[in-house]
């Protein structure tokens, strides 16, 4: 259980970086976007501990901006280090995706043909 969430967090990290790179966003917006893309089975608040860590590691910076409705809002943007991290993530992700797909394609195919025999 905890290992899957750990993996999930790593993936979410990458997705957050990608969204932030595209446009300066605030917390709620980020959560909405993730949900729109299909990540809707985890609690929205999960992003804040991740954002705190990414800030600590200086992948993102934040600025307070006045919003039209009410209090100041914290907007996140990507730093140079964050862009690097995003590139690394993409590499890791592509590698992982290719390997997993390879395994699944081959193994499920051979199994099926093996069962046919």
């Amino acid at each position: 259980m905890s290992t899957t969430t750990q993996m999930m967090k790593g993936i979410l990290d990458g997705c957050l970086l990608a969204i932030i790179k595209n446009k300066e966003v605030y917390g709620y917006e980020l959560a909405e976007k993730l949900a729109d893309y299909g990540f809707d089975n985890f609690s929205e608040g999960t992003i804040y501990p991740l954002l705190l860590r990414m800030q600590k590691e200086s992948f993102v910076t934040s600025t307070l901006k006045k919003s039209t409705a009410g209090p100041k809002r914290k907007y996140y943007s990507l730093t140079e280090k964050g862009e690097e991290e995003l590139r690394d993530f993409l590499e890791r992700w592509n590698y992982l995706q290719t390997s997993v797909n390879n395994v699944l394609n081959h193994e499920t195919v051979t199994r099926r043909s093996g069962n046919d025999d």
Partner: protein, 258 residues
Amino acid sequence: MIKQKVELSEKSRKFLEDLHVYLFSSGKNEKEMKEIVEELEDHFVEAEKNGKSIEHIIGQSPKNYMDEISAEMPVDYKAWFKYIPLIITGAFSFIIISDLFKGTLTYSLLEIVGFIVIVGIFLEGTSISFRYVSANDLNRKKEFSILFILGMLPMILFLALILLNSTIETPIVHFGITGTVIIAIIAFIFLTAFSIWTRSWVLIIFIALLSLPNFFLSFTALTESARLMTGTLITFAGIAIYLLIISRTDKSKRIKLP
């Protein structure tokens, strides 16, 4: 800030307050605490506007969520190195001033070390119980008992120290008249500065309630044990009344958070 300090459900409001207490008692940085609480408040307001429940945001366990946030925030040791001497000096003024009514100051080494240890234990105890109370959804009775035990803790420890002090011999430190006067002046300066800084009379009222009844009663014709009983009674009744007044006035301004 002017108009939007609004429409947040009682549950979300309570969670944000609890989170603040939890982070504070975990020794986090004041500014960072305020930032994350405000950010979450903004999120809650938006989410509630769209009909989402608090569970949808923080998951099933508030405690787990608080832990996750807390884990990503560094402990603000710098601030605590400022606070802890302040608290220790405050605790010492407490003891010193009630003892001043009895004449010049003398303490055994064990007492001096014991005071510091008791303050340390009490601080750690406060931190643990506040984190526990804020992270777990307790009923009033349970919450009250935990805080009551916490309040009794220093008293029990002081009693233990008195007992220990009468059985174990350690070198005795005499401060003499000059020493006593200097310490008294430092204590008074500290208390005044502290009261001005916090804009609160709490420390002075507590000290007065602890030391004045016994002092004034010593002029009466009552027997020693009768004096002790009345004195203790006045002290506790006084503290109870003071806390009642405080909680009444606090409740009216409690709603606004950071």
